[in-house]
C-alpha cells in the first residue's frame, strides 16, 4: 500500500497559506508605511527602502519630508508592529500547545497584565538599573512570574481544563488590575498617563531603540518555538503518551513557557496590552491548515504580524488627527471572537472538558 505523507490538497494549502501570508505582510507593510499626514505611495516606499539597501530601483518619495517621515516615524512603527504581531501570534500558538488547551492566550490568562504590572512598577518607581531596557526587563519579569504562576495553578494531570484556565485568567487579571490601580494611585500625573497608555496598548511610541530590543527577543522566541514544533504535536496526545514517544515533557514545557513569556513580554514592553491576537490568529490558521505546529507556528507569526500592522494602520488613520488605542481595537474584534470560540469549544467537548 502506498501512503502519501498527507493529502496533496492539504500540503498545497499549507504552502499557499505561508506564501500568501508572507506576500500579504509585505504589501500591508508598504501600504501602512505610506499612509499618514504625509502620503507616500507604496511604490515610493519600496523605492526608498531599496535605495537605502544600495539598489537604485524605483521612485524616491516625492513629498516634502517624505524620506524623513518614513525613516524616523513610520518604519520603526511598522517594524515594531510586525515584531509585536509575530510575537503575539507565535506566543498564542505556543501557549495553546503547552497548555493543551485552545483557549490559552497571554491576554486571556493574564500574562500581558502581569507584564504590564512589572512595567508599571518600573515606571512608577523610576528604577533604571538596566538603562533603556529597564521597562522591558520589568515587563519580562512580570510576564515570566505570571506565566509560571498560571502554569502552576491551572494544570492538573498534564492538562488544563477550560474552566480552570479561564477562571485562573480572571483571578490573575483581577489581581493585576488591582496592582495597576494601586500603582496609579501612588504615582503622579505623568505616571498615570504612562500606565493608562500601557493598559490601552498602542504603537505610538515606537522607535528604532524599541525595535532593537523587541526584535532579538522575537527572533529567539520564534527559533525556540520552531524547534519545539514537532514535540508540541506529540504533547497534544497528553503528558504520558508524549513521554512514551520520547519527549522530555518537563523540559519541553519549561522551555516553551520561557519562550512564551519572552515573546509576550517583549511584545507588550513597548506597546502595552494588545489582547486576543494570540487567541484568534492560531484558531484561524488551524481552521485552514490543521493543528500541526510546524505550519501553525510560522503561519501564526506571519498572520499575527499582518493583523497588528493592519490594526495599527486603522488605529492611526480611521479618525483624522486622532489615534485610536490599538489594544482597544483588537479587543473590540477579539472579545466577541473569544466568546464564540468558548461556545464552540464547549459545544464540541460536550461540556467543560
Amino acid at each position: 500500500m502506498q501512503l502519501t505523507k498527507e493529502s496533496p490538497l492539504r500540503a498545497y494549502k499549507k504552502a499557499v497559506l505561508i506564501l500568501g501570508l508572507a506576500v500579504g505582510l509585505v504589501i500591508v507593510c508598504l501600504v501602512a508605511a505610506g499612509k499618514g499626514q504625509v502620503p507616500i505611495s507604496p511604490g515610493e516606499v519600496a523605492g526608498s527602502l531599496l535605495h537605502r539597501l544600495g539598489l537604485d530601483i524605483g521612485p524616491m518619495p516625492s513629498a516634502v519630508q517624505g524620506e524623513n517621515a518614513l525613516w524616523l516615524v513610520r518604519f520603526p512603527r511598522v517594524v515594531l508592529a510586525v515584531i509585536v504581531g509575530a510575537s503575539l501570534g507565535c506566543a498564542g500558538a505556543l501557549m495553546q500547545g503547552v497548555f493543551g488547551n485552545p483557549l490559552a492566550e497571554p491576554g486571556v490568562v493574564g500574562v500581558s497584565s502581569g507584564a504590564a504590572v512589572g512595567a508599571a512598577a518600573a515606571i512608577v518607581s523610576g528604577v533604571t538599573i538596566f538603562g533603556a531596557w529597564s521597562t522591558a526587563a520589568a515587563a519580562f519579569a512580570g510576564g515570566m512570574i505570571t506565566t509560571l504562576l498560571v502554569y502552576a495553578m491551572s494544570r492538573a494531570a498534564g492538562r488544563t481544563e477550560v474552566v480552570t484556565l479561564v477562571l485562573t485568567g480572571v483571578a490573575v487579571n483581577a489581581t493585576a488590575g488591582a496592582l495597576l490601580g494601586l500603582l496609579m494611585f501612588l504615582t503622579d500625573d505623568d505616571g498615570v498617563r504612562a500606565i493608562a497608555f500601557w493598559q490601552l496598548g498602542s504603537l505610538a511610541q515606537a522607535t528604532w531603540g524599541s525595535v532593537a530590543v523587541a526584535g532579538p527577543c522575537m527572533i529567539a522566541g520564534l527559533v525556540v518555538a520552531a524547534i519545539c514544533a514537532r514535540k508540541l504535536d506529540l504533547l497534544a496526545l497528553g503528558e504520558r503518551p508524549a513521554r512514551h514517544l520520547g519527549v522530555d515533557t518537563e523540559r519541553l514545557r519549561i522551555i516553551a513557557i520561557i519562550a512564551t513569556a519572552l515573546l509576550t513580554a517583549s511584545a507588550v514592553a513597548f506597546t502595552g496590552i494588545i489582547s486576543f491576537v494570540g487567541l484568534v490568529v492560531p484558531h484561524l490558521i488551524r481552521m485552514i491548515a490543521g493543528p500541526g505546529h510546524r505550519v501553525l507556528i510560522p503561519a501564526s507569526a506571519l498572520a499575527g504580524a499582518v493583523i497588528v500592522v493592519t490594526g495599527d494602520l486603522i488605529a492611526r488613520t480611521a479618525i483624522d488627527y486622532q489615534e485610536l488605542p490599538l489594544g482597544v481595537l483588537t479587543a473590540v474584534v477579539g472579545g466577541p471572537a473569544f466568546f464564540w470560540l468558548l461556545r464552540r469549544t464547549r459545544a464540541r467537548a460536550g461540556g467543560w472538558g
Binding site: M1, L3, K5, E6, S7, G100, N101, P102, R159, R230, D233, L234, L235, A236, L237, G238, R240, P241, R243, H244, L245, G246, V247, D248, T249, R286, G290, P291, G292, R348
Partner: protein, 252 residues
C-alpha cells in the same frame, strides 16, 4: 522486561506490593484481576510513568537509566483512554508513533510501519478524518495503530479491547500475537478472561496489589482462584472444540 519486588504507593496506600514478573520476547502476557487490583498501576510503573520501589529492567538495563527518547525506542504504551487536545487527523496521530525514530535509519520504514499498523487495526479509511470525529472504538483502534507503528521490542497495552466490538477485539489480540510472533514482548491488561485464555501465553492474576498466581491461562484460570479474587462464583468450562478455557460468571 523483568520486574523484581515492585511496589507502588499512591495516596499513602500501597496499590502494588512486591510484584515479581517478567515478559520475554515472543510472548503475550495478560494481567488480569478485579477492579482496583493494581493492574493499570503496575503497567504504569513498567512504562516508567510513576515512581516505584523495587527494580524494573528493560533489555537488561534499569528503567531509570534510560533517557525518554531511548525508552521510546524500547517500549510503546497504549493508555486506557486516548485523548487529543487538537483535532489532528487519525493518520497524523498514527504517524506520531514514528516520532522516536526521527533522524535515525529506522525512519526509512516510517510509511511501511504506519501502513502495517493501519492494516492490523483496520484504520486506513480514517487516515484523513479528524480524530475527535471518530467513535470511541475507532479512536481506540487509532491509538493502538499509533502504538503498533512505533515498532518497539516491548509493548504495554492497557485494556486495548475495552471499547471494541467482538470482531475488533479479536483483530487487536491477533495483532498483539503477531507482534509477539515477530519477537516482541507484549504485556496486556485485560478484563475479558476469555480473550486472555485464548491469546496469552501466560497470565498474572492480580488481587489487592499482589500477584496471586501466574502461569499458562489453562493452569491459573481455576474456578477456586477466580471465584475468590472476583468475589463471585465463576465457572470454567473447556471449549468443546478448541479446549481453551471459557470463563463464565455463575448465573442462576
Amino acid at each position: 522486561m523483568r520486574a523484581t519486588g515492585v511496589s507502588v504507593r499512591l495516596g499513602g496506600r500501597e496499590v502494588v506490593s512486591g510484584v515479581d514478573m517478567h515478559v520475554d520476547p515472543g510472548e503475550v502476557v495478560a494481567l488480569v484481576g478485579p477492579n482496583g487490583a493494581g493492574k493499570s498501576t503496575l503497567l504504569a510503573a513498567l512504562a516508567g510513568d510513576i515512581g516505584y520501589s523495587g527494580e524494573i529492567r528493560i533489555a537488561g538495563r534499569d528503567l531509570t537509566a534510560y533517557k525518554a527518547v531511548e525508552l521510546a525506542r524500547q517500549r510503546s504504551v497504549l493508555p486506557q483512554k486516548a485523548t487529543l487536545s487538537f483535532p489532528f487527523n487519525a493518520g497524523e496521530v498514527i504517524r506520531m508513533g514514528r516520532a522516536p525514530w526521527n533522524g535515525r535509519p529506522e525512519s526509512a520504514d516510517d510509511e511501511d510501519a504506519v501502513a502495517e499498523a493501519m492494516k492490523w487495526t483496520e484504520t486506513s479509511a480514517f487516515d484523513q478524518r479528524p480524530f475527535p470525529a471518530l467513535s470511541g472504538g475507532e479512536q481506540a483502534r487509532v491509538a493502538l495503530a499509533r502504538v503498533l507503528a512505533q515498532r518497539t521490542p516491548v509493548l504495554l497495552l492497557d485494556e486495548p479491547t475495552a471499547a471494541l466490538d467482538l470482531r475488533h477485539q479479536e483483530l487487536v489480540m491477533a495483532a498483539a500475537r503477531a507482534r509477539a510472533g515477530d519477537g516482541a514482548a507484549v504485556a496486556v491488561v485485560l478484563h475479558d478472561l476469555g480473550l486472555a485464555a485464548a491469546y496469552a501465553d501466560r497470565a498474572y492474576v492480580l488481587a489487592a496489589g499482589k500477584v496471586r498466581r501466574s502461569g499458562p491461562p489453562a493452569e491459573v484460570f481455576t474456578e477456586e482462584l477466580l471465584s475468590e479474587v472476583y468475589q463471585h462464583r465463576v465457572e470454567v468450562i473447556d471449549h468443546p472444540r478448541t479446549g481453551t478455557p471459557l470463563i463464565v460468571p455463575h448465573r442462576s
